[in-house]
């Protein structure tokens, strides 16, 4: 489409999705023709969208672009979303960001997260047992991919039993781009209330070896402020649920659509991590992400980004950049490249990237080991993708076995 028709600028987000979660055609067009492209967000503001991997890496590491969106009047996707929470790690610029990140970094290292594999496998096994005893066909999201993060991450993050039900009401947050600013604010407020109760519960009855515990200890020691602790617990919880459901859903979907590669994984379990890397590369579950703001005028390859302008980055464009990924539209678990770029770049590189990987590896391998004949129960054309959902995925994944 975009080869012959020049779309009207600014582009209006959300874009129509690509087939089966492929890169949206408008994003692909921008990458070819307008690598720094104006995009109108649902909130009504216009942001600059960057789509080339080298540009994105440069911008994300450039201190002239701030992540601090907590202030009133900051650019939002829709309304007062999670970026409006004061002092959350998401919103901090260096050097404050580094000080808060340091509190958590040892908990999230590649080596440190390995010890959580048995916990994830245990919850996966329990849910798969229930799925085997339940209806067939079934919506895999309801039976497994939405339930697993709530159960496994809930235990890992130390959600006490008395708050488990509220946790399930609050998460996953919908982060719906078609929502109203008021609805977004209500959703954010509900999560804040939950986090306040969770922090109080952890103070009364500490749960060692959790990120919350590390943040509370750092706040007590004066390493971080109370506000930084609260905002960062808030962020850790948002990222513990919503962003996992999407790849837990799109991963099995794309593997079922590439049966030969799935069979290779079933025959050789060392291929599961490769499959997960390709799932991470192929899809991105955060749409345009959240804006950054130019602190000063910046000339970016001939486009002047004015001080105060918002900049957004669809990370799927990065992992589909043909300058770095050969034939990016092809799902191929044997690529030499991994999925790292989906997690960002620069100081805000996703803290939970290694934990996400082991959740996906354990969950997807367990699913297909238990149900090796698992297949879609509808045509792939019928899968309901919601372009308004920030964490892009089919909203239902009917499967049979």
């Amino acid at each position: 489409m975009a080869n012959t028709i020049e779309p009207q600028l600014p582009l209006r987000y959300p874009f129509p999705l690509g087939d089966d979660g492929a890169l949206p055609p408008l994003t692909a067009w921008a990458q070819r023709a307008r690598p720094v492209c104006p995009v109108r967000l649902p909130s009504g503001i216009t942001a600059w969208m960057m789509t080339r991997k080298d540009d994105v890496a440069r911008m994300l590491a450039d201190n002239r672009f701030s992540r601090d969106l907590a202030g009133p009047g900051s650019p939002r996707m829709v309304g007062e979303d999670l970026t409006s929470v004061d002092d959350a790690i998401f919103n901090l610029d260096p050097p404050r960001h580094g000080r808060v990140r340091q509190v958590l970094s040892s908990w999230f290292t590649r080596r440190a997260v390995q010890r959580h594999r048995p916990l994830i496998a245990r919850h996966a096994g329990r849910l798969l047992d229930a799925m085997a005893d339940g209806p067939n066909p079934v919506d895999l999201i309801e039976a497994y991919t939405a339930a697993l993060p709530l159960d496994a991450m809930g235990e890992l993050m130390g959600v006490p039993p008395e708050l488990a039900e509220e946790c399930r009401r609050v998460y996953p947050m919908s982060l719906d781009l078609s929502s109203t600013p008021d609805a977004v604010e209500r959703e954010t407020d509900a999560a804040k209330r939950f986090i306040a109760k969770l922090v109080a519960a952890h103070r009364a009855d500490p749960v060692p070896d959790t990120p919350v515990h590390a943040l509370l200890a750092a706040a007590s020691a004066g390493v971080i402020t109370e506000s930084e602790m609260f905002g960062t617990v808030f962020l850790v919880f948002v990222t513990s649920f919503d962003p996992l459901v999407a790849p837990l859903t799109t991963g099995p979907m794309i593997l079922m659509l590439h049966r030969k590669q799935l069979d290779e994984c079933l025959a050789d379990s060392t291929l599961w991590p490769k499959a997960v890397e390709e799932v991470l590369r192929y899809f991105h579950n955060g749409g345009l992400g959240f804006p950054r703001i130019a602190r000063e005028d910046v000339d970016f390859d001939g486009t002047v980004i004015r001080r105060g302008d918002a900049v957004v980055v669809p990370m799927q464009a990065v992992t589909w950049d043909p300058r770095h990924y050969r034939n990016p539209a092809r799902f191929n678990i044997h690529r030499a490249t991994d999925g790292s770029a989906t997690f960002g770049a620069g100081p805000h590189y996703c803290l939970g990237s290694q934990l996400a990987r082991i959740v996906l590896q354990e969950a997807i391998s367990a699913l297909f080991r238990r149900f090796p004949t698992l297949d879609l129960a509808v045509s792939q054309r019928e899968l309901p993708w919601d372009p308004n959902r920030m964490f892009t995925r089919p909203m239902q994944l009917p499967v049979t076995w």
Partner: protein
Amino acid sequence: MFTLEWLADTTGHHDHVLVGLSPQNGRYKPEYIRNLIFWLRPRFRSIDVVIPGFEAAYTLVAAGHPPAQAVHRARRAYRQLHNPAVRALAELGVPDPARHVTSWTRLHANAAYRASLSRSRKAYLVDRRIRAACRAMTAEVVGNTVDGRSVTPCDIDIAVRYVIAEIPLLTDGPSLFEADRSVFVYHRPTPLVAAIADGGSILRAAPGQSWAVVGQQEANHGEHDRTTTPTAIPVPAR
């Protein structure tokens, strides 16, 4: 020649019509689908057609079919309803006709459908009247499919998902299809519509929602009545 009987004292209109097609009723042959759409389209400003999603397989599973076989049959039945409906809309000059023939599965892309389904599931759990209507209709659907045995509560537990997934089409047509007024047409009244329409349950129809029964006055009427799997659910008759 068709007739349209508006239900529950609703006032007729010409805004939007939602046509339910059933994979489990013999009347929904390609010619009937074409005739029905050709008759309805000029009478309304806009038209959409809905076809059951993967939940249709539950009635076959409950009747004893292996799940993979049930899914295969349900997918085939879907195509047999989908293609004639798209062709009919295309012949009538409806732009992008495939967009107006939607499976319940695809409706999950719509936040309004998801919210309505969530309310419907809750209503099934807590509202005795809705629950009874859903189970009665499910028993009828499954009963038409099983051979030589009675339908058990366990069968109904499996297949009732089918009936519940359709409730949003009975309550929230206007928001699902962005119309001020929307009428859901099916070939006979059902207890679920009655329970929603008379205010006796916790489910409420959205403003602008109405229902109508589409009848056929001549030609093949008898043949259509000889369906081996008469309806159970609203609309499309099962």
